[in-house]
């Protein structure tokens, strides 16, 4: 009998198959099948997204589950060009959870809501017996108002320029180290942050945005592969242009990870019209949240549905969708 393994939640290959072969199969409808970060509803006037949060540890360098739960859903809306407006919040709490911790998490949520100009308008609380959940699970669902139309993972075309907003892999590396109790570097922290303020500036500057996606689970490898498949195009990435911090590089070297597959919570990819590329990078770099922005590649026809990674010494390889559970390699 087949059963669910942790690999089914990795944001990569197995995760994608589960969604397609089970959820899409039984829930199919034209809106769902667009497979965007947030669904466009009401004739494209509103964006609608949901996300659930479970993280160990609950508090990590650069954030906590509360901040994450607001950033996650609000960023999914922002990535569709929508201003986050109304959120619901459902919490499942394990018996015995300490009240002061819960309040700290809720305050962290409030502070992040303010950055987005969004409010919680409905909620639900469930408490379950000890051992039924791991401390605390949070779900948030949000509605945003579309401020820029036409963003889609399905319509990238040759010559579009691919830009990364910041250095990659910080959230994934931070969580892994904290979970395993490994202390390497004090400089490493999660990039967890709300992206609407950045997106708002891009829209105000009339940037022609083709696609935008925050590189959460599965990292930029997952997003680039999703774009390549959904738009039936090839994305060619110059490896040396992808910013990776020395701390993340160190974690990857030691544990055998690829920074491309590590999760981010406030770093996003944006595809723009080539004429707007320079302006986009300059604008992004003027903001702290995206100060390391860089053009990392472009859309071509070379290998449709594939992502190619080009090294500075003239070799090329596929950047594959991450598969399996994230495990350190020893031997």
């Amino acid at each position: 009998m087949k059963s669910i393994t942790l690999a089914h939640g990795n944001g990569g290959e197995e995760n994608g198959r589960l969604i397609e072969e089970l959820f899409y199969k039984h829930f199919h409808n034209p809106i769902l099948e667009q497979a965007e970060d947030a669904a466009l509803i009401e004739k494209g006037r509103l964006a609608f997204a949901t996300d659930s949060f479970t993280v160990t540890p609950l508090f990590f360098k650069g954030g906590d589950i509360g901040k994450l739960s607001i950033c996650g859903t609000c960023n999914d809306l922002a990535m569709m060009g929508a201003k986050p407006k109304y959120l619901t919040c459902a919490v499942i709490i394990e018996e015995g959870f300490e009240m002061p911790l819960l309040e700290k998490i809720v305050l962290s949520m409030r502070s992040e809501l303010e950055k987005n100009g969004a409010i919680i308008v409905s909620g639900d609380t469930k408490v379950v017996p000890k051992g039924s959940v791991d401390k605390l699970f949070i779900n948030t669902t949000g509605i945003g108002e579309i401020r820029y139309q036409g963003i889609s993972a399905n319509t990238l075309s040759p010559d579009d320029v691919i830009i990364i907003s910041n250095s990659i892999g910080k959230h994934g590396a931070t969580i892994f180290l904290e979970r395993e109790g490994m202390e390497f570097s004090t400089a490493l922290e999660s990039d967890c942050r709300s992206l609407w303020p950045v997106v708002e500036k891009l829209i105000e500057a009339n940037i022609r945005i083709k696609a935008m996606r925050d590189a959460t689970r599965g990292g930029i490898a997952a997003v680039l592969n999703e774009w390549a498949k959904q738009s039936d195009i090839c994305i060619e990435v110059e490896e040396e242009n992808v910013p990776v911090s020395p701390e993340v590089k160190g974690v990857c070297e030691l544990l055998g990870f690829e920074a491309f597959s590590l999760a981010n919570e406030g770093t996003f990819l944006i595809a723009v019209d080539p004429e707007d590329a320079l302006k986009t990078v300059e604008l992004l770099r003027s903001m702290e949240a995206s100060c390391m922005a860089k053009v990392i590649g472009k859309v071509t026809n070379r290998h449709p549905r594939k992502v190619l990674l080009k090294t500075p010494y003239g070799t090329t390889r596929f950047l594959e969708l991450p598969s399996g559970e994230l495990l350190p390699r020893i031997c």
């Binding site: 090329t316 390889r317 594959e320």
Partner: protein
Amino acid sequence: MSSLSLRELYEGFRDPRTIRALVKKIEIEADKLGRDIHIMEVCGGHTHSIVKHGLHQLMPQNIHFIHGPGCPVCVLPKERIDHAYRLAMQSDVILVTLGDMIKVPGSKGSLQDARAQGADVRYVYSPLDTLRIAKENPDKKVIFFAIGFETTTPMTAALVGHVINEKIDNIFFHINHITVPEPMKVLLDAKRSKIDAFIGPSHVSVISGAKIYKVFPEAYHTPVVVCGFEPVDILEGILMLLKQRNDNRCEVEIEYTRSVTPEGNLVAQKLIDTFFEKRNHFRWRGIGDIAQSALQLREEFAYLDAEKIYSDLLPNHQIDDHKQCICGEILMGAANPCECKLFGNACTPSSPLGSCMVSSEGACAAYYRYGNMR
């Protein structure tokens, strides 16, 4: 060695200009050689590095890589993976192993599947973390499923030492440690073998020293250069092998001098010798039975040996791979992953049928993941 910073690693051992300069030198020596040369990188770490960085794309037409058997989870036969699964499924057992082992499927499933069925499976970065797990779970039997070549063996030996000295009564061992030189000999002896030279493993040699390869130039007339894992290391190693051929030399050389000596880590070697002895036989997936190629706990430590304690539970009949699988041929250099009918169709990294697809260090998995874009 102690002063090597990460920055130097990137700016030195992956420097594009150095890489291009080395490729130029390799082209000159390869041209001088004037015939084909088949170089086996024994270690999976090298295979991964070659394919990931696309180094094979930079080679002149007459240099061919043969991807060796040096990935410890790839060569572990299915019946032994089943041992891990069966032990993990015991309700009073916590199975502890290294991360590499978690995804590898046996005939019943992987440890990941066992965990989904409720088994308590944990991976550790350092085997000594097993001590903590055992202390926290005094009512459980903690079995350390040990895998790896000479590189990881000393860590297991250190854990055995702790268990004995501290009289810990709930840690047991299932030993799957294997050694590098024996399969190299078997591959050279094979009739269809095309191997002309070896790139010797990096981390294994840190422990065992480069001396373990002396037999290859002496008895097989096959040179060995021990290289580091970085692109510059590997290219420099290839250059050294070509120069040996062109100078009519045949010897063991060390490129990875920042970590490897001829003698190796004598303290680690002694530790291994204290607790382990050679097994008469060990079956290698994709190759077959190889004498004296693996280790087991010495007889006096049999009371710690889960393989003996649970012998009723752990059948040893051979479970073979798919009939069409050509991993054996690939390991001998007689075939390329792309020539296999199963490659990329029935056999993929998420459902591997043969040993070379099992871990990211296997040749087929590396080709699948990074594309063979020569």
